[in-house]
Symmetry: C2
């Protein structure tokens, strides 16, 4: 309805959305401010009314990625309440799946496109919320005896590192095909968790629809 309005109304979010789309279609290399502006239907310098520079837009897109991830993970933690090993596995698989479905968005969220100098409070906030959630699951797993006792924050970081590393190496094509032919991504993820933890494998952890 707002086709020919001078004022867009919600340009900021439209730009973030356009950025996410371009990222999905063309990857990081295709992401330019001018293309984002064009896709949102505004002139090439319009983004500067909402973002200080490209870095700022990228930070917003990263934050959006983190939010999407958090939503999925939070839903899974809820669904498997009371079954800590299952929570751990499903959260890990969701993480890997997020990376696979939209590698560019995953990369831009985690691959330090955000320079350390500037600090983006909303990004830090959602990042901490994510880690808190993982820490919760880790604590539940420790109570359930499937994770060695120890400081929960360091353990959470260890688990997160493992899953993050697997997701990264997978989307960078660093995992050999001979291995990938033998094991699905889900099997690999569960294998890794089984290596890291003392999870006992149960059949329902391998649904027919493997990722």
């Amino acid at each position: 309805m707002n086709e020919h309005k001078y004022h867009h109304g919600d340009l900021k979010n439209a730009l973030i959305g356009a950025g996410v789309d371009i990222l999905a279609e063309e990857g990081l290399g295709g992401l330019s401010l001018r293309k984002v502006a064009a896709r949102a239907g505004v002139s090439h310098a319009a983004p500067y009314a909402h973002f200080a520079d490209k870095q700022d837009l990228i930070a917003a897109i990263s934050t959006e990625g983190y939010h999407r991830l958090y939503e999925r993970i939070e839903a899974l933690v809820q669904r498997y309440q009371g079954d800590p090993p299952r929570q751990l596995i499903e959260v890990a698989c969701a993480y890997v799946e997020f990376a696979r479905k939209d590698p560019a968005h995953f990369r831009i969220t985690f691959s330090g496109v955000i320079e350390t100098e500037k600090n983006y409070p909303t990004f830090v906030e959602i990042s901490q919320k994510n880690l808190q959630l993982v820490t919760q699951v880790v604590e539940a797993c420790q109570s359930a005896g499937i994770l060695k006792p120890g400081p929960a924050d360091a353990t959470a970081v260890s688990i997160w590192s493992s899953v993050h590393g697997l997701a990264s190496l997978l989307i960078e094509g660093q995992i050999s095909h001979t291995l990938l032919d033998r094991m699905s991504r889900r099997e690999l993820t569960v294998f890794l968790l089984n290596q890291v933890t003392l999870v006992e494998l149960r059949p329902e952890m391998f649904p027919a629809k493997a990722i």
Copy 2:
């Protein structure tokens, strides 16, 4: 001596070296073909005699990064021959340390700046050599009983993922300061390995000069 020669002599390697330097000084954002050319003392289009495009130069720089990593890791595997858990820990720490010392080079090596379409044989080669080395260490650890038995390739990928993830999250500043104030990077790395494996901690694994 070759200051004013029209033909540089070894421009290809000079360009790679210049790229590595710029990466260390200015990070990924500062890496442009023209700056690399200028630093090597040639005109802006000279790189095109040796590289098809920017992607090609980046691939060469990535390959160089992988080579440097391999050299260090190989030396450590040699030095601690016969002590598999120590091998594992030192290799992991070297990996993390490589990322810390030159984050931009680490990122460009592993963070998918190489598009999957093109394949760079030398890059794939050194990447496989690296994994083989890790697999060796993993097999030794399995024999020593500090790693669960299982397919060595999948186990190696698990270990590699864990360490790679930790290194990535560290250089992206995703590890909270409250944790980093309590544990050094080396302690974190060993903690992670201890989580992942059944390594027994020994005092010599924590030298005074922690990373």
